[in-house]
Symmetry: C2
Subunit: 139 residues, 2 copies
């Protein structure tokens, strides 16, 4: 698994540092999205807050992770699995936030539908976020 981490970093022309390895590893070992706070906690107080901010920013720029919008004021991040490249994200899946357990999922298999916008409106990107009860909590 360290191999995969190294691989991803190198593929994106990033130098392989301790913080990047550790944070990327977190994303690989979690199902669902991570908020900034989660990362700070799970990283085990080893990293400076600033490092976490900068690492996440770098990962987003390189297309390694993407941002998930939420109505509460928290930003969440999740791994890109769709060959996103530097400066261009191609994730077009639906996101789902469970109101019971709080986990945010990337539903890779559910695609964002076509939406007919009014005349003159041109969309570059469309985000769909569903909120409700996830399969774990619904039984």
């Amino acid at each position: 698994m360290t191999a995969e981490v190294n691989d991803i970093l190198k593929r994106n022309n990033l130098s392989v540092t301790e913080s990047r390895k550790k944070i990327l590893n977190l994303f690989l070992n979690v199902n669902g999205a991570l908020a900034h706070g989660d990362i700070e906690k799970k990283a085990g107080e080893k990293f400076d807050r600033v490092t976490v901010y900068r690492t996440l920013q770098t990962f987003v720029e390189k297309g390694i992770i993407h941002i998930i919008p939420t109505t509460d004021n928290s930003v969440r991040y999740a791994l890109c699995k769709n060959n996103c490249t530097e400066g261009h994200h191609r994730d077009n899946h639906v996101h789902f936030t469970c109101l019971q357990c709080g986990i945010t999922y990337c539903l890779e298999e559910v695609h964002v539908p076509e939406i007919r916008l009014p005349k003159g409106f041109l969309a570059n990107e469309i985000e769909v976020v569903a909120k409700g009860t996830c399969s774990n909590c619904s039984q």
Copy 2:
């Protein structure tokens, strides 16, 4: 127009105060959504930040305005036009943020499509936010 403001407040069992009138008026006279910061500025430094926070919170609870999620870390608010009631929002329209002018629109006439979720996932609410160029900026 003050009549409409009074009306909306009374209909929601809210006492009619200066701050509520002024802030609600802002929403009635703007096309598009307002961020917290916009409101503080447009209100003309007359109100305390805390009052703005509390008023917005009250309006959201009462179903007068709704929150629009964004990928940048800013929360935006817009008027509900769909008979939202206390504790239950019924807005199911698509939101559009223009990357040129920065305005966020409620596209009332564009409804959120049906989305088939995986087994076990139950959605209470689905948000759709498009980003791109609006009709004003596209010409």
